[in-house]
Symmetry: C2
């Protein structure tokens, strides 16, 4: 891929989104997308001793499933790119252990799926790799005790708060000439975001912290590519939730972009929106990982969507930075997909 | 860069290591390399309110100094790649805030300088970027309370333990045609490591946990490139410390590689080796960041070293994974440098 603007790269021969798999937990299984997951388990520990081991296990299951669908093995991967929300990104470090694949560890908070897809696309589009896997995860139980309270405490949640998704997703990205899947969607461009904030410090309102970064990246994507929202069948954000999604539309309108009716959010799709238990919606690296690698991959592969723009969103704070009263920086990365045989029609500035 | 082996990429036209800067704290200022740092402050808070803010401030100082040396600004950067040891990599998230540069967050623990250099080299060698900065840091006070004990506790340390470096380094990497520095070293190849372990669980012996990963990456680098240790003037590891460095030589000898007299370690160079206070030597992302961007950059730029192989080493555990009795996974990434006008002589398999 080559730079076509300050923040955006596009490929002459678009890399292929060759395979995908998504794993969920009990809440996700019972949600509207439950039947689309490759595996969804009632047991929050996935047969392991600890929640942390379970999160790594979900990543391995996602990757194994994604590889198996195209009769591939870890041997076929030139790189594994990924990360997660656990301190020191241990879910991914442990899941990759023993796999024998060169590992590029990422930290993008909940934007990790988009960052991983973008980097895998860059690496495979120019000979640095033939095939790379992007993987990430989150787990309600590992996140809750790390970022908020012990589960046993039963802390109250305001309506702006979100529910960390127990889920994982793996994407296999490959250079077009080596792709074995004739109905693979392709990645036509990527926009790498910058750390951005508009003064939000409320740890219980991640949607408000991330919406400005999503708007910033979308505005830059459309400026860099000379495209319009109407050029995409769908613009899907990571985990803004219901409140963050409304805020995004307002920020985009202020920036001169009208996207009404065109946007969705992985965090809003994964649970029953009317159930107050989930607050503003799902969040965590696993939210977009599970939705992109199930629903979005299928809709693009089947041609039901001709094109889509996925904007992964992440809040880059830590409990320490929040206790110290720091503002919450956020980031968003965008990945543009086209259905099979659709990418030739794309022209940039 | 293109793959020349399972783990290694090499460039036809090597990207340039255009500029570098290193920042240190009081202990580092008083060490053998103190006079080589661009800035070394007695004040552990660098004029900030918190140690965490100080760590971000060191990153900004490192990057500003590296850019200023070649009359560049953040506007000249296509990407910032970096990360650190703080939970959720906040030192880098906050340092990059307001800079307006597309940010690829990395997690490689103490191998982050090598991972950042490698990724910046890949991005700039093939048109994905003209110029990218790699940055990382560590801070004794932020690391000690996060990974070990409150500083006030004054915990005892075994001789295998290491001293987290208060330091930061920034490297500017650019495509050869846009390089403004005629004496810039170049990056000829990179080897991306895999998560690796040989059963070490002792949190006070990071050198033993990381040495197997360093050996693994070195063996793969030499196999992939058909080069020998004697092809490099220096092989410099990140933060194995004195004990880890001895172990590395034994592991390499078992693998058939004789490197005696050829190796050094950034963690061993940064403090007085005879001072027991520092245990086995310096550690942390800042150890290799400060040494590579001061001593190594100067020795390569001046031609004092014709070539060098830097092997950044990282231990990928977290306090939680250690409490849970998990083994400590480690990783090492290698970056091969050549002095100006030396890269044409390099031939691979």
């Amino acid at each position: 891929m080559k730079k076509i603007g300050k923040y955006t790269l596009a490929a002459e021969l678009a890399p292929r989104f060759e395979s995908a798999a998504a794993i969920g937990g009990k809440e996700e299984k019972n949600g509207p997308l439950g039947s689309l997951f490759d595996l969804a388990q009632e047991d929050a520990k996935f047969g392991c001793k600890t929640w942390e081991q379970a999160e790594s296990q979900m990543q391995r299951l996602a990757l194994d499933n994604a590889l198996a669908k195209q009769a591939l093995t870890a041997e076929d991967l030139d790189f594994l790119v990924g990360g997660d929300l656990e301190n020191q990104c241990t879910a991914t470090s442990y899941s990759s252990l023993g796999m024998g694949v060169p590992y590029i560890g990422l930290y993008g908070a909940c934007s990790t799926m988009a960052l991983g897809l973008a980097l895998a696309a860059i690496l495979t589009s120019q000979g640095a790799a033939r095939r790379a896997a992007a993987v990430t995860s989150s787990h309600f139980c590992t996140a809750e005790r790390q970022f908020r309270y012990p589960l046993e405490y039963g802390g109250q949640r305001p309506p702006t708060s979100q529910w960390t998704v127990t889920g994982s997703g793996a994407s296999i990205i490959c250079a077009a000439p080596v792709c074995t899947n004739a109905s693979a969607p392709c990645i036509t461009s990527v926009t790498i975001g910058r750390a951005f904030e508009l003064g939000v410090t409320d740890i219980n309102n991640m949607g408000a912290a991330m919406a400005p970064a999503a708007a910033d990246t979308l505005l830059r994507h459309f400026a860099d590519t000379c495209r319009k929202p109407s050029d995409y069948d769908l613009i899907i954000t990571g985990d803004l939730g219901q409140m963050g999604s409304q805020l995004l539309l307002r920020l985009l309108a202020e920036g001169g972009l009208v996207c009404d009716g065109k946007t969705e959010d992985c965090g809003c799709l994964i649970y029953d929106r009317s159930d107050k238990k989930y607050g503003s919606g799902g969040s965590g690296c696993g939210a977009s990982a599970a939705v992109v690698n199930s629903l979005l991959f299928r809709m693009l592969s089947s041609g039901q969507l001709k094109s889509a723009l996925f904007v992964g969103t992440g809040a880059l704070m830590s409990p320490v930075s929040v206790y110290q009263g720091e503002v919450i920086p956020a980031i968003a990365h965008a990945v543009a997909f086209a259905a099979p045989q659709q990418e030739e029609k794309w022209k940039y500035c």
